[in-house]
Symmetry: C2
Subunit: 219 residues, 2 copies
């Protein structure tokens, strides 16, 4: 079984390679995990020896199928735990990411199954991230960053789970998963974008923030 450390590397690689080019680099991983590049190099040799990543020195790297499978298991645990902490334990969605970062490495299969049942085999976590199924298969969503949305009507489907201050703020403003808003064209000069709810309440977001909120057009 992979150690917690190995699990964290796999998760980081999955995350980084999953944004475009399909591969990542030592430097990116080192920044993501806040370890020195030398440490990453050594770990990559190790992961290569275990058949989890494809790695050629100085050429970048990517997960091999077995690495993807392992990483998906961790992601599944993470997201089920987040859902559990919100739904059953009543924690706030801004608190659960950190907790899940720890528990994802130690929870037993038995307990995870129990959680899955209690929640009715959920497909998404509290931030709208899809939960991989038992085989590591992930439902795709068609979400786009709010930042890229033309003016129109949209539903919030996903929010980045890593910045808890952002999550608290969104919660306070009533920007939650599933809510629908009328979106204005971004005012690039002001660096601001406006959401308005059917009721009327308006919310202004910085474009930075708008990049972390993902939406789907409403028909």
């Amino acid at each position: 079984m992979p150690s917690s450390t190995v699990e964290n590397y796999l998760k980081a690689i999955l995350h980084l390679q999953g944004e475009g080019r399909g591969s990542t680099t030592v430097g990116e991983i080192s920044r993501e995990l806040e370890v020195t590049p030398g440490t990453v190099t050594i770990m990559m040799r190790h992961l290569k020896a275990r058949g989890l990543v494809a790695y050629e020195p100085r050429r970048g790297l990517s997960l091999k199928p077995r690495g993807v499978t392992e990483a998906m298991k961790v992601v599944r645990r993470h997201r089920l735990i987040e859902a559990f902490l919100v739904e059953v334990m009543g924690l706030d969605w801004s608190e659960v990411h950190e907790e899940a970062e720890i528990l994802e490495h130690v929870i037993s299969d038995r307990l995870l199954d129990r959680i899955n049942e209690m929640l009715g085999e959920p497909t998404h976590d509290p931030h709208g991230d899809p939960i991989p199924d038992r085989n590591g298969v992930l439902a795709k969503d068609r979400a786009m960053p709010l930042l890229d949305a033309a003016a129109g009507r949209y539903r919030v489907v996903r929010v980045s789970d890593e910045d808890s201050a952002l999550l608290e703020w969104l919660n306070e403003k009533g920007v939650r998963i599933g809510e629908e808003f009328e979106v204005s064209d971004p005012d690039r000069a002001a660096g601001v974008l406006e959401l308005s709810r059917r009721g009327g309440k308006r919310v202004q977001l910085g474009l930075q923030v708008a990049g972390q909120v993902f939406v789907e057009a409403v028909a």
Copy 2:
């Protein structure tokens, strides 16, 4: 903060010194934790340097007050987690010890508080072991081993949580915390002792087993 390993040593010492003489030895710890005596010696030096144990080479050792406090925190976490797993998650009392052995080292204070609230600040875990309060104070019970009980009427108040086969068996036979039974004099020759419930069902236990079940006389 103590590492998981240190927590396990403290818990083991608390457990071992808590049975009589108030102190324990390197050998006992080494057997309890299944590590070699040399490993224990090194850890004892370490714990002594941290002010957690009183240790003089070859003279045995015991927890200092700070060590007791730390150990009690771990015991509290362990027992609250066990209670949670049974009450909320619906696991069987025979399954929860192992799970709690792992989770006790990683659960956050926030989550532990939440568990404590959800359960209504319980005083005992599912095996009848008392849960230390926030200050590490433990309610005493007057339980005696069933083995030492004279014939009479008794209530089961506590069962050793470490042997899951025993727990399953007891559960199957209806021997649960809080149940009352008429206890026969032990038949030392046969190595057996009999419980009978008001209804009439009888249960035979080996004396070995009877040493792990703790009871209180009923008035």
